[in-house]
């Protein structure tokens, strides 16, 4: 229920009573002027009117004061009544609020409990499902990993065999190369020895034969050598 503040009404009441008073005074003055305008002089009439007006003003003042007092009293009463109403309304409202909140609390509690129960059920169900999924996934992962390990093992074995083969081949090639090198070296050394032997023998033979050759032999040998070169076709002049 809306509450009425009395202090806000008070200035309106005063303005209203003053306005009523002024209207009444104006009315009486007019009437008096109408009645007295025939027998009295203008000055007397003016005084009389003035006195009457004063009287009327006093009466109006008194009446307005009464009205003000009454209105103030009434206002006080209204305020009191309004306060009473306000208090009772407040109490009622509080009570209703209390009831409503109590009811809402109960409802909320019930809803919460239901929701909690439902949530717990859902959670339990999800937990079971998750556990199942995890178990399944774990199994799959284990299977997959085992498969991968198997493949890796096979791959490693194959690679090891390849590496071993490559090493064997390389070692074989190295051995072959070393053997070949050794053979070449031995052959070169033997050739060198041969060359030296040939050099020595030829030197000795040249000296011995050369010394033993006569002029005729020398000339015949030269012709024979030239003929031989001609026959072989090696002498190209």
């Amino acid at each position: 229920m809306p509450t009425i503040d009395v202090n806000q009404l008070f200035p309106f009441i005063i303005i209203f009573t003053n306005a009523v008073t002024i209207v009444l005074v104006a009315f009486f003055v007019k009437e008096l002027v109408k009645e007295k305008s025939g027998g009295l002089s203008k000055k007397d009439l003016k005084n009389e009117s003035y006195q009457k007006a004063l009287k009327i003003l006093d009466e109006a003042k008194k009446e307005s004061l009464d009205i003000y007092t009454d209105s103030h009293k009434k206002a006080q009463e209204i305020i009191q009544s309004a306060l009473k109403v306000k208090n009772s309304s407040k109490e009622e409202l509080d009570r209703q609020y209390h009831d409503l909140s109590q009811h809402q609390l109960e409802a909320l509690d019930k809803i919460s409990r239901d929701y909690l129960k439902s949530l717990r059920g859902t959670l339990m169900s999800e937990k079971d499902k998750s556990a199942e999924v995890v178990t399944k996934a774990s199994g799959m992962i284990t299977k997959e990993v085992m498969s991968e390990i198997g493949k890796m093992k096979e791959n490693l074995v194959a690679k090891s065999a390849e590496a071993q083969k490559a090493i064997d081949e390389r070692v074989g090639n190295e051995v072959k190369a070393v053997e070949e090198e050794l053979k070449n070296y031995r052959s070169e050394r033997m050739k060198s020895v041969d060359d030296k032997v040939v050099e020595i023998i030829s030197s000795i033979a040249e000296k011995v034969i050369g010394r033993a050759m006569s002029l005729k032999d020398q000339q015949d040998f030269l012709m024979k050598v030239l003929e031989e070169e001609k026959r072989k076709g090696t002498l190209k002049l």
Binding site: R186, I209, G210
Partner: protein, 150 residues
């Protein structure tokens, strides 16, 4: 004097030694204004050459041409250990002419280091025909040591 006449001259001269001798003779002939006779030519020059100089060289132009031909003749050098005989030089010159060589003179160089055979040089070509080279060639095919060891 024709070109084949000059070739004939070189053919008579045969060796470098005789070419020098011939050049001297040609110079003398030039100086004596052709008053020298066949009998005055050096005895080392063979009779064909003396005949050639006596009958074929008629004037200064012939002398100049002959000298030029002798100086410009190609040289076939043979490094040998002996002093060749006349008939051997003849035989050798013929042999080389038989191989197609023309306008050349043989130069014998005596070298005791060459025990037998010769070292031949002709127009930048060197051929080792010495006794030592021939013995080496003979022994090389035998492979004395290596074949027995390996």
């Amino acid at each position: 004097m024709r070109l084949n006449a000059l070739e004939e001259l070189i053919q008579y001269v045969k060796t470098k030694d005789r070419a020098y001798m011939c050049l001297e003779t040609l110079n003398s002939l030039e100086r004596s204004t052709f008053k020298r006779k066949k009998k005055d030519f050096p005895k080392e020059l063979d009779k064909d050459l003396r005949f050639f100089l006596n009958n074929r060289v008629k004037n200064r132009d012939d002398i100049e041409k002959s000298k030029k031909a002798l100086k410009e003749a190609k040289t076939l050098t043979l490094r040998v250990a002996f002093e060749p005989e006349e008939n051997f030089v003849e035989k050798l010159y013929k042999w080389f002419r038989g191989r197609g060589l023309r306008g050349f003179l043989i130069e014998f160089v005596r070298d005791e280091g060459v025990s037998g055979g010769c070292e031949l040089t002709y127009e930048g070509v060197f051929v080792d025909l010495t006794l030592k080279a021939k013995i080496k060639e003979f022994l090389k095919d035998k492979e004395y040591v290596s074949t027995q060891v390996l």
